[in-house]
Each structure stands twice: as C-alpha cells, then as structure tokens.
C-alpha cells in the first residue's frame, strides 16, 4: 500500500510541475519547477532501489545544471519583445494533438509488446530487501565491463569544459594592466632620465 501511495504522490507532482513549467510566462518559475521535478524523480528512483542514481541526480542535475540555469536566467533579460509572435489558439490545439498522438503511439506499443510477459511486477527497494549495495553493484561493472563508456564520458566532459570556456573567454583583455618584467629590467639611465 505504501509504495503505491508514494508512487502516485511523486508522479502527480512530476506531471503537474512539467505542465506548469512549459506554460509559464516567467523563466525563473520554469527553472524552479524543473528543480521540483528533479527532486521528485529522485524519489521515484529511490522507490525502484537505485539509490546511487537518485543521489547523483540531486547532486549533478539540481546542484550543477539547475544552478547554471538559474545563473543564466538571472543574468539575461528574458522578455520577448515582439508580442505578435504569440501562438494562436489553433496552433495550441495542433501541438496538443501531436503530443497526445505521440503519447498514444508509444503507450500502445509498450502495452502490446509486454502483453505475454509472465509477471510484470517491479521489485521495489531491492537493495534493502536483499541487503545489497547499489553503489557496489555499479562499481563492479563500471570499471570493468563499461570502462570504455566511462572513459569516453570523461572525454566528453573535458571537451564540453574546453568548449564553454573558449566560447565565453574575453580575448581582448586590454583593461588589465600587467607587468612586463623584461622591459622593467632593461631600463637604463639613458632612456629614463632626461635633462629639461
């Protein structure tokens, strides 16, 4: 009984926050609703017994990416000046129709393809029931079987870091006065003193 209550609570908050986040006029509200979505998704991952991924979600997604979003939203002026580019009611209807269509297609494929599975139950809180450690299981596999994926993810992060620093670096730094030591040492009496 208790897992069902938790699941319906988390998933209802997720769905309502997602719908509010895309319809919002203010970008700051959207980012804060996104943080709420991340926390509730982390709760759902805890329900499934994946506690390492749940904590990594909070640390990385909320702690780094959502904070980055908040910095950018606070620095930029996010008013859309031209109000003629608003979406008409007919376009809203078409977008909603496309969304419902794709949802129905994916759901029907899922329900039909899983129809003759023997048991569809998901084992919840697996690591607590069997006294296993989710971090240990990920660690057993990540550095041996999935070593290539791990190293290439590090390379992708490195390239992203280089890319974003190279894009936003101010190349012209003329307002910073620096010392040129060799010029200072090469001063002699002839070019520093003049008789007036």
């Amino acid at each position: 009984m208790f897992p069902q209550i938790l699941f319906y609570l988390f998933s209802s908050v997720i769905v309502v926050s997602a719908i509010c986040a895309i319809y919002n006029k203010s970008t700051m509200n959207s980012v804060l609703l996104l943080v709420l979505i991340f926390f509730n998704t982390s709760g759902i991952f805890l329900l499934l017994g994946a506690e390492f991924v749940a904590i990594v979600l909070v640390l990385v997604y909320v702690g780094a990416i959502a904070v980055l979003f908040l910095f950018v939203v606070m620095m930029l002026d996010t008013q859309i000046k031209n109000s003629l580019k608003n979406i008409t009611k007919k376009q809203y209807f078409i977008f909603g129709l496309i969304g419902i269509l794709i949802f129905t297609e994916i759901i029907s494929v899922i329900y039909i393809s899983l129809i003759d599975q023997k048991s569809l139950e998901v084992i919840l809180y697996n690591s607590i029931l069997k006294n296993e450690n989710n971090t240990l299981e990920i660690g057993k596999v990540l550095y041996t079987d999935f070593l290539f994926i791990f190293q290439s993810l590090g390379l992708i992060l490195f390239i992203a870091m280089i890319g974003s620093i190279a894009l936003t670096l101010n190349k012209k730094r003329t307002f910073i006065k620096q010392q040129n030591i060799s010029k200072q040492i090469a001063r002699n009496k002839e070019n520093s003193i003049s008789m007036v």
């Binding site: 970008t27 959207s30 996104l34 979505i37 994946a50 780094a64 990416i65 008013q79 859309i80 031209n82």
Partner: protein, 103 residues
Amino acid sequence: MDSLNIYHFLTLSTLLFSIGLCGIFINRSNIIAILISLEIVLLGVNVSFISFSAFLQDISGQIFAIAILTIAGAEMAIGLAILIMHYQKNKNIDIQEISQIKG
C-alpha cells in the same frame, strides 16, 4: 490498488516525454524554455531506463542513465555558453529574430 508493475513507470516515462515534446513546440521563441523542455524529455528517458533496470534485474540500465546525465550536463553547458554569447551581441534572446545564421 494492485501492486506496482512496469506499466505504471513506463506510463510516467511516456507522459514526461510527450509533455517535454509539447514544450519544445510551444515555446518556440524562448530558448531557455526550449532547453528546459529538453531536460524534461531526457528525464523521461532516464525514468524508463531505471525502471527497466529494476524490472529485468540488470545493472546496465543504471549505467546508461548515468551516461545520459553526463551528456545532458555537457550539452546544457555548451548551449548556455552559446546563448550568453548571443545575448552579449544582440541584447535579447528572441531566436525568431536571428537573421545572421545562413543555411
């Protein structure tokens, strides 16, 4: 209520995916809202991977979910860096006004 089966989690995943997709269509002029909707799409896919990892008792779903997190982080960093440079030049973030990008 019967116990939770895989259909519950996959319905949640599909719902998040389609809501994020609608968000990309609706917020065409606000690029930060497009990035937020993209994050919602990736989160829906993450939920699907983790729920299958619990259903099939296979750890590789969680490894791939960590990979998706990493790629989303890298993509957001570069996308926001490009957005900041564009804002410094044009002083607004209405992407329907971009006329300098040529095909």
